[in-house]
Symmetry: C2
Subunit: 181 residues, 2 copies
């Protein structure tokens, strides 16, 4: 207790911290804070959250409730649904236009449908992605990645290089997520 002035929380400056060392320390502290906040949303509110953080040096840290794969799958499902809806909207629009032109006695040719073709493609892409990434996720978990983290407050740090064979600390996630999604 020598100095008294420059202690305690400072106002959060929204500019890049210049000192490499304090940037690293601040990063760790705030990342912990972020993950804690996330865990304070998941259970009390019944939400699912996935967080992917790349450190200043590019090291990845993952938080996931119930786990990151579920979140990514949910995201892709959401995209798929959105595209499906858009596709239907476009179809209806085209039908509508077609109908209107017929009624006005104008010619109709199917080239306009091309506008819709890109979307069919997209759907196929999304299906392929889902299949593929399910395979990868399963295999990756089986063979090396252990698991990322449940929202138990902990998180998984892809310890790559030399410890690729370390399988210790594989938490199982048992949050039932009482079914409101």
């Amino acid at each position: 207790m020598t100095s008294k002035a420059t202690r305690g929380r400072q106002e959060v400056e929204m500019k890049k911290l210049q000192k490499e060392s304090s940037r690293q320390v601040t990063f760790s502290k705030r990342r912990n804070g972020l993950f804690k906040k996330a865990s304070e949303i998941c259970l009390p509110c019944g939400a699912n959250i996935g967080i992917i953080v790349f450190s200043p040096k590019g090291k990845p840290f993952i938080f996931g409730h119930p786990n990151i794969e579920t979140i990514l799958d949910q995201l892709y499902d959401e995209c798929e649904e959105a595209l499906e809806k858009l596709k239907e909207e476009k179809k209806k629009r085209i039908e509508h236009t077609k109908e209107a032109m017929k009624n006005k006695g104008e010619f109709w040719w199917d080239e306009a449908i091309d506008d819709n073709m890109g979307l069919e493609e997209l759907e196929a892409y999304l299906k392929a992605i889902e299949e593929l990434r399910n395979n990868v996720a399963r295999k990756a978990n089986e063979s090396m990645m252990c698991d990322v983290v449940a929202d138990s407050g902990g998180y998984f740090d892809f310890g790559i290089a030399a410890d690729a064979f370390n399988f210790d600390h594989c938490p199982s996630h048992d949050f039932g997520a009482a079914g409101q999604l």
Copy 2:
């Protein structure tokens, strides 16, 4: 200013909030807090963060710096790298074993290499994923999703149903991320 007792911040109880209404309100407030915290890490620390939140009702909210696609790509790259490293380790191990057995005058047959085949497959899967999802991301951005959000504190709420044709508010992200990843 009628009552004075039960106001202000309560201790964060780690159990599911029972009242549907306050669960929704609490979710919104804390989600905002979470995204703010994230933005207080990105710029000052030079980190990249992606957050995917599914509300109690399954509605998705995205935060991304510089944007969610970059984060997902980085994640897949990381996985790919990790698997590559693991593959090499396994190969070396097998070579080592092979060598040792030869030196001991025992027989060697190549069945053990099968242990390595799953990994080659995995690599192919990952390559396919990357290609496919790059296509999807590009097409989706072009055709409907506008963009998710930079870490400017805002975030994108997949407004699906009826507003699939609303293309307003498409922020461009211009954080150069001064290259420490």
